[in-house]
């Protein structure tokens, strides 16, 4: 398990990194935390001509709050998100989620930008981006552009990024008053990619939940929003409404079979998660089995 030989260059700025990507054509790739890229190279699942190291670009790191917006540099590490008071205060969903991402050693290197660019369907973070309505800031040869999370994740390891573009920052609307976050996942071992997880945010109002965003991960080829189930849950809570919403997940989600779990099990767990989510957001005691 040794990577095939490649060239290595360290970029001092985003502009320089973009130029390197342009020159490298399709054969160049960015190195962020290396936690997904390097295993793939070592396993020879991929090979490349040029590795562009962006770990030295200080401008890509850091977390700021500007007005009602949380701005996260793409090279901000998972470990920084985990301990950030800004994230805890303004994006509690992300704070909850990040604790489930891998293990400390990996969180010390892995970055949010690398994670989102990698677009693993079982990852916690793309789902959070959808649930939080994130905007992704991208820089390429023709300047910057901004893409909504809903338009960014296209499929299995597929994003809206072109080969010569860099994800430079993530912008999240800060938690509004009355909004609550729910996050839970089922994984065989702590730190594993989830079999099924749910990132959700909404405004509980009495026994209804308004503006609910339900996003599952680990189910299907990319993080999956569930608009049908969310619409149903805008009605007053009752066991029948919950059951209806749980049934609607069958249309919202396309669970896959793999050796982690069958499609049937994924759908079952997704429904269980929905009940736990509704109960938690409405502040109700968890229904017993």
């Amino acid at each position: 398990m040794k990577a095939a030989a490649f060239n290595y260059a360290r970029a001092a700025s985003v502009d320089e990194a973009v130029q390197m990507l342009v020159r490298g054509g399709g054969g160049a790739k960015l190195l962020a935390g290396g936690q997904s890229l390097l295993p793939a190279l070592n396993l020879r699942l991929m090979s490349l001509d040029l590795l562009v190291d962006i770990t030295g670009i200080a401008a890509l790191r850091g977390i700021r709050v500007e007005g009602g917006t949380l701005k996260i540099g793409a090279m901000t590490r998972h470990a920084d998100l985990l301990t950030s008071p800004e994230i805890a205060a303004h994006a509690p969903l992300l704070a909850k989620a990040i604790a489930h991402v891998a293990h400390p050693a990996i969180r010390n290197r892995g970055t949010i930008g690398g994670n989102l660019a990698h677009a693993d369907p079982a990852s916690e973070l793309p789902a959070c981006m959808l649930a939080l309505g994130a905007t992704l800031v991208i820089q390429g040869p023709s300047g910057q552009r901004r893409v909504q999370a809903a338009d960014f994740f296209l499929g299995l390891y597929q994003t809206a990024l072109a080969p010569d573009e860099i994800l430079i920052a993530i912008e999240l609307p800060a938690l509004a008053s009355g909004e609550r976050a729910f996050f839970h996942e089922y994984a065989r071992r702590m730190g594993d990619y989830a079999i099924v997880g749910l990132a959700a945010q909404g405004k509980p109002a009495g026994d209804r939940i308004d503006a609910l965003r339900l996003v599952y991960f680990g189910v299907g080829e990319r993080a999956g929003s569930c608009p049908a189930a969310a619409r149903i849950l805008q009605q007053r809570h009752s066991p029948a409404i919950l059951a209806e919403a749980q049934a609607a997940l069958a249309a919202d989600l396309q669970p896959q079979n793999d050796h982690q779990a069958s499609a049937a099990m994924r759908l079952h767990l997704a429904r269980t998660l929905l009940a736990r989510c509704v109960n938690e957001l409405l502040g109700r005691a968890e229904a017993s089995a």
Partner: protein, 797 residues
């Protein structure tokens, strides 16, 4: 038999200086290893060293029509590309059979496949280059023309007439069959009040050592010697095998084994890759190194288990279990592994089922079949987890059938603590076990009745927790009955040499090996205790066929019991020799002298007579001052092998307390208890570590670890992301208690402790899960117990 003391009132022999036996002293090698200064083969480098990478068959079964290595051979750094037929000229094939396993058959296996690959991962060519990376680059350019053959993937159909025979010359795919019929089984079933039965399924799993298999072979044409640096459990066995298959004298082979990053039985077998590496070194006349990467570890390290075992038990209304019957089937891959064979695990299952109990009637059949998957062989607690899960699963079923508590039915049937010596229906001889004392201690440790009450209260609230028990016996300290009688050149005796040098330093060489168990520590503890010197004065050398006595190594829970006894006897003899020299110098009767804390003292008064440094100075530099005719012997060597019993059985019992989330099928392990009896405890901390580590591996099998093959014989989860090893977050607290019944086969009294944890862990978890699920009428007899299995059993998916 005594309950292991937790506190000792007053003074005891332990309070003497230099009494290290029974004490939790730190391992001497800890600092080195914790500072990252261990010497693993993976780290070693020699001048002109080349690296070998094996190109492996992507098919489970395929004919090799041709290999085109022209392009690869021209790549930078490539030294040689060698195929099976070429290497077969340097290294002869082997057949993994033993004569005492009657009827066991296997086919010749070559270091590299000659014309046919029989499992996905079998090497078909060796690429030798100046670096591993260069060899991997070249491996991508070697073109192999395969004709895919029909694989034998499912052990259940391996013996069907329609299934291809993997080795046609063997006639069928049956490697081995054993039948046993003891007592009056049919009558017992006919007279039973209840008959319970189930089919128990055990997934394939493997050892997953932190350091993969690694070997560096150095053929030196100058002195015509092969030096092999290898992470192995049995250096002398490997010395013999390298010599035999490379046409060398044993004296031409030296095997050196420094630090080893875990073994668990994985590193006690002969691997084609290792033989190929040694053969390549001889062929290319230079050092060649092979370190398995993680992918090839999963594909080529021996796997274990993979059994389907049907079991029945006959029980009377009063709880007496009158008969067990099993029919075990296991798939071992395309070859029986050399030289220990792949029939041992099934053979052990037959030996061990029902072992803790008085049940007199027992019938068993075991069939071992070939298939086109990676080979299986001995891994920690060989056969025990299967025998234990089947037995304990049936005992719980029997208890449920008659409405008896699981603890009570065990008390009813366990062999009485005063019934020894005795034998099992399968012919196992027990010297002294302590099942009842262990059961009582376990129930007290876990507060069994309070736990049952808690379980009932929680169940009323919809929280489903379970309690599972599993009694077990464990084979340790094997005599030649294991391998030697079958013709294998695997020594069951061990030797220890101890000498005192000119400064009074104690140098000790032992033939047992260290892969983390603490062999080095326990040897130093015993030798220091016997001599009466501080442990820091003792240096232990292990793992070098040129520089240690001849012996078996470390496997089958034998290091402490056999190597420890040899150390004890060698230490005692050197002590006698030292006292004889001291007596001669001091003009005293040796019986009036003693050694304490590195000094010769007057035994009666404790008065210091002469320090060992001074004694050594005189002995080595001024022997002219000793009385005429006196020759000091400052080195003693002793060997030991158990003679009274073929194996020193240990026993114990484990319990699991866990919660099943019946909505999700997830299991949370809440607590685990073990009470075991390994005889004399040399180092309580090492024993507890062994037990806990063993339990964790057993829990891995119970819940997580699984080599998943598809119907084409492809291993589908050969990475650490997909093969789930147990990790700390999911592990419960593991409380360990001891009963001490020393073996009288030897003075030390120690039996093995390395495998007991693995033997019973999965069995008690399965029993606990079924206990938790009992309100639902669901029962699962398959491991690993995945959430999917549980949800399916509950009818939720």
């Amino acid at each position: 038999m005594t309950d292991a003391p937790t506190t000792r009132p007053g003074l005891s022999e332990l309070d003497r200086p230099n009494s290290y036996i029974g004490r939790a002293v730190p391992r001497p090698n800890l600092k080195r290893l914790m500072q990252g200064r261990g010497q693993y083969v993976s780290d070693m480098s020699l001048p002109r060293m080349a690296h070998v990478v094996f190109l492996r068959s992507p098919y489970a079964h395929a004919r090799i029509l041709g290999i085109d290595s022209a392009e690869a051979a021209a790549m930078p750094g490539v030294i040689a590309i060698v195929t099976g037929p070429e290497l077969a000229k340097v290294c002869t094939p082997w057949v993994g059979v033993l004569s005492h396993l009657k009827g066991l058959k296997s086919a010749p296996q070559y270091p590299i496949a000659v014309d046919r690959a029989c499992w996905q991962g079998e090497a078909v060519a060796a690429i030798v280059a100046t670096s591993r990376a260069a060899a991997e680059d070249a491996a991508e350019r070697v073109m192999v023309d395969y004709e895919e053959l029909e694989p034998v993937a499912d052990m259940r159909t391996a013996l069907d007439a329609a299934t291809p025979v993997i080795h046609p010359e063997l006639g069928d795919n049956l490697a081995f069959e054993r039948n046993l019929d003891a007592g009056a089984v049919d009558a017992a079933f006919a007279e039973a009040d209840h008959v319970v039965e189930a089919e128990f399924v055990f997934g394939r799993h493997t050892g997953v050592t932190l350091e993969p298999r690694s070997i560096l072979a150095d053929w030196n044409p100058g002195d015509e010697r092969l030096t092999v640096y290898q992470g192995t459990q049995a250096p002398h066995m490997m010395q013999n095998i390298f010599a035999k298959h490379l046409a060398l004298d044993e004296s031409q082979v030296r095997v050196v084994c420094k630090d080893v990053g875990g073994s668990f039985g994985i590193k006690v077998h002969v691997y084609a890759d290792d033989m190929a590496t040694a053969a390549l070194s001889k062929l290319l006349r230079r050092p060649v190194k092979f370190v398995a990467d993680r992918l090839e570890s999963f594909n080529t390290d021996i796997h274990a288990r993979d059994h389907r075992c049907k079991g029945r038990a006959a029980v009377k209304a009063d709880g007496t279990i009158t008969a067990f019957e099993i029919d075990d089937l296991t798939g071992i891959g395309p070859y029986s592994v050399y030289p220990r064979t792949s029939a041992i695990e099934a053979n052990q299952v037959v030996n061990l089922v029902g072992g803790p109990y008085t049940t007199p009637n027992y019938r068993a059949r075991a069939r071992v079949v070939f298939q086109n998957k990676n080979v299986t062989c001995q891994y920690r607690a060989v056969g025990h987890p299967i025998a234990c899960s089947v037995t304990e699963g049936l005992v719980d079923l029997a208890a449920a059938a008659i409405g008896m508590d699981p603890a009570d039915i065990r008390r009813r049937n366990l062999i009485a603590d005063d019934a020894y010596p005795c034998a099992s229906p399968s012919g196992l001889r027990f010297e002294a076990l302590s099942h009842h004392a262990a059961l009582d201690k376990l129930l007290a440790m876990m507060d069994y009745s309070a736990l049952r009450a808690e379980q009932a209260a929680l169940r009323a609230k919809g929280i489903h927790r379970g309690i599972g028990l599993a009694s077990f016996i464990e084979v340790t300290n094997p005599s030649p009955a294991f391998y030697g009688v079958g013709g294998a050149r695997i020594s069951s005796q061990d030797g220890v040499a101890v000498r005192m040098d000119a400064t009074g330093a104690i140098i000790c060489q032992t033939s047992i090996t260290e892969q983390g168990q603490g062999s080095e520590a326990l040897t130093a503890q015993i030798v220091a205790s016997m001599l009466g010197v501080p442990m820091s004065r003792v240096r232990v050398t292990l793992g070098d066929t040129d520089n240690t006595p001849y012996g078996g190594g470390t496997w089958a829970s034998r290091g402490a019991g056999i190597g420890g006894e040899a150390a004890l006897q060698a230490g005692k003899q050197l002590r006698r020799n030292i006292l004889a020299a001291a007596a001669s110098i001091l003009q005293a009767d040796p019986d009036t002298l003693d050694i304490r804390d590195g000094k010769i003292i007057d035994a009666a008064t404790g008065a210091e007579r002469v320090p060992l440094e001074e004694l050594a100075r005189i002995v080595y530099y001024r022997p002219d001052t000793l009385p005429p005719g006196f020759q000091a012997e400052m080195m003693a060597v002793r060997h030991f092998v158990p003679r009274d019993f073929p194996f020193a059985f240990t026993n114990g019992i484990q319990a699991s307390w866990l919660e099943v989330d019946t909505e999700t099928g997830f299991i949370t392990l809440l607590n685990h208890w073990v009470v075991e009896d390994c005889g004399t405890i040399i180092n309580p901390q090492l024993v507890d570590e062994q037990i806990r580590g063993g339990v964790v591996q057993g829990l891995g099998a119970a819940l997580f670890e699984h080599c998943r093959y598809d119907e084409r014989g492809q291993l589908t989860n050969a990475t650490m992301a997909d093969y789930l090893v147990p990790m700390a977050a999911e592990m419960p607290d593991i409380d360990v208690g001891h009963i001490v019944s020393p073996t009288k086969d030897g003075e030390l009294g120690a039996k093995g402790a390395g495998e007991a944890g693995t033997a019973g862990a999965a069995a008690c978890v399965a029993n606990a899960v079924n206990d938790a699920l009992s309100p639902f009428g669901a029962r699962i007899t398959e491991i690993p117990l995945t959430p999917e299995l549980i949800l399916t059993a509950l009818g939720r998916i």
